[in-house]
Amino acid sequence: MATDTPPKIELKSVTKIFGEHPQRVLPMVAAGASKEAVLEETGHTVGLRDVTLSIPAGQTFVVMGLSGSGKSTLIRHLNRLIDPTAGQVLVDGEDVMALDEKALIAFRRSRMSMVFQRFGLFPHRTVLENISFGLDLQVSGRAGREACRQKAREWITTVGLDGYEDAYPSALSGGMQQRVGLARALAMDADILLMDEAFSALDPLIRRDMQDQLIELQSRLRKTIVFITHDLDEALRLGDRIAILKDGEIVQVGSGEEILTAPATRYVADFVEDVNRSRVLTAGTVQLDCAVVTASEAPADALARAGNGELQVTYVVDANGKLLGAVTGSTMRRAIRENTASMESLIEPVQTATADMVLEEVLPLTLQGDLPVAVVDGQGRVQGMLSRRSIIAALAETAGVAKSDQ
């Protein structure tokens, strides 16, 4: 996704080693020693290894990996809860490592806020006081605090916690606690939102609710969201782009479909194997080429171009290229035998889908008629077709056929 606008956040060759003397171990890690070897020989743990990422503005960027892959370490580098052993972290082109204590505090207050896995709420503060915590830090006096509370109240409404202002976090369910966490982060009005496994501690149904709420909020707020998760379905659902992390290294970065259809390594392929592909693959990716004829052509000419696909289906369009319907090979052959001059009387209606619809949405359409579904663009022009068989083939295609195996 090469854009002209500079990336919001950039990581350049960030390496993090945990232990007593990380600098001494750095050359060994740079030389490519494995995580196990480094631990065995020096007692140091490699958290991240040479991670380079660029995160575009206004998108949801998901970092996905299993536990121990370094994803929580990665996100903590962005607001310097953890300092890198080597490498650079740039936010809007500004080197975060160059900030002194005071500038760092100002940076955290204005530029990014964070949502935590186990919520990280302040147990001694009410819901309202929790949400206004970050704002309270920046004001003094009663009047200032009152203004913060006012602002916090608006966010309580946004996340649907009206009536719970004065409750303590311990009185709330997990889902409600994380709404407080989300509101607390959003109240900061920063344009970057860091979410560290924000929904992982929630029940599946509530998790889905929260994901929906985040998607809805994001469609309005257009923040730069860095979302950490170990759940591939969640990653595919939320992420505009996804980075897959393994043992502190980035294995692949791409859109959900890219990762699903072209896994870079065997590891990624194994990972995506169990994914519900019908929710990710779109009609545009799976569609087959199809024959198209104009309604004014003679059936014989049309049949000649129909190819020999399933049922020899041919889509019929008008003079402007707009889809009218479809004819099958057998209909055309009968028309030729009966000397029917024009195609128009032969056209049967077909279901249509757009290229960005996921297969889950297209599948029911294929059941409404025997003819394959036509994939059309905004003007109704035919782009391709989707038969039941081609959809099932795409869903059944296992990730084992990774194109570039190690």
């Binding site: 940076f107 302040f122 001694h124 311990s170």
Partner: protein, 353 residues
């Protein structure tokens, strides 16, 4: 030099070598040759020093363990240090610190047993207990305890002891809280203070009395000081623990939202550590009560003195009734402070991880 000396020398050298090896092993990063080199150097230095000392006639290795003059004249050094303190600062300390505080304590003491009628005091404590626990049973018990103390004709010494404990705990809190906070915030300070606290807690409490009495003389102030020193460790330790027990993610959240160090301390760490700090205050009060009888030996008035009289005059009854009053006072103070500690965490108890 005797054979025993040589054997012990060898043993010392081997021990030093092994110790050095273990230390370097733990660090794991030095190349093995350098480790061995350093360890050998350390062992050699120790051995050479011992030989030089032996040859110089100090008889470090072959000396008699039961001799009259100790090889290490530590007692002498301590004597001289305290003497120096007394001659240099004794008068100034008495005039500027001890006397005003003794005056204040005396005033407080008289206020407790003369300024307030005993029923008023009993009712005040009962209300206190109710406020802390919201239980009438505890309030009734507290009132009953005070009535019993009065009926035993030990009201005055009890109030004297209460005043001693109050002032001691105040001193303990003024010194202990900052130390505990510093310890909770700094690992380095913790490493330094930990052995000091261990020392303070294990050293028999009698030992404190000697220099304190030399500096400040017999009486209440010395009692307060010795009690405060004895009672401080639990408060310091529990304050440190309370700060360190604050959930890591909660602290990360405070940092991530741009809290400065002092904002983190005052708005997050201390409020969350409060129940533990309260437990520390409770423990310190119990320690202070344990010191009451010992303090009576240096002329501190109160229940301890009654116990001491009982011992001197062989009157078990006197000792028992005074001891009973100490127990009652301990239970009353313990239940009230514990109830306050619990109330402080009712808000978030269920949510604590």
């Amino acid at each position: 030099m005797s054979l025993g000396g040589i054997v012990s020398l060898l043993l010392i050298a081997a021990g030093a070598f092994a110790a050095a090896l273990i230390v370097f092993r733990a660090r794991a990063l030095e190349p093995p040759t350098r480790q061995v080199g350093l360890a050998a150097a350390a062992a050699l230095t120790v051995a050479v020093l011992l030989v030089v000392a032996e040859v110089a006639g100090m008889r470090v290795l072959t000396g008699d363990a039961g001799g009259d003059t100790p090889l290490l004249p530590l007692a002498d050094w301590v004597d001289r240090a305290v003497d120096w303190l007394v001659t240099e600062y004794g008068d100034a300390l008495r005039e500027n610190i001890s006397n005003p505080i003794v005056f204040a304590i005396g005033f407080f003491e008289r206020f407790l047993y003369q300024g307030i009628a005993w029923p008023a005091m009993a009712i005040a404590f009962a209300l206190f207990a109710y406020h802390a626990s919201r239980k009438w049973t505890l309030a009734a018990f507290v009132a009953g305890a005070f009535v019993l103390i009065w009926a035993l004709q030990l009201w005055k010494p009890t109030m004297q002891t209460l005043s001693l404990i109050s002032v001691s705990i105040l001193v303990t809190a003024l010194v202990g809280l900052p130390l505990g906070i510093a310890m909770g915030l700094s690992n380095r300070f913790r490493t330094v203070l930990m052995p000091v606290l261990d020392f303070m807690q294990t050293m028999p409490s009698f030992v404190y009395l000697i220099p304190v009495v030399m500096l400040f003389g017999l009486g209440t102030f010395s009692g307060v000081l010795a009690t405060a020193v004895y009672a401080a460790p639990p408060l310091i330790r529990l304050t440190d623990l309370g700060l360190r027990l604050v959930d890591k993610e909660v602290m990360e959240a405070a940092t991530a939202f741009g809290a400065s160090r002092s904002q983190k301390l005052w708005r997050v760490q201390l409020p969350l550590a409060l129940p533990n700090v309260m437990a520390g205050v409770n423990q310190s009060i119990m320690m202070a009560l344990a010191m009451v009888v010992i303090a009576s030996m240096i002329g501190v008035r109160g229940l301890g003195q009654e116990v001491f009289y009982g011992l001197q005059r062989q009157e078990p009854g006197t000792g028992f009734t005074a001891g009973l009053c100490i127990v009652l006072l301990a239970i009353v103070l313990d239940r009230i402070t514990q109830a306050y500690g619990r109330r402080m965490q009712t808000h978030y108890r269920a949510g604590a991880h």
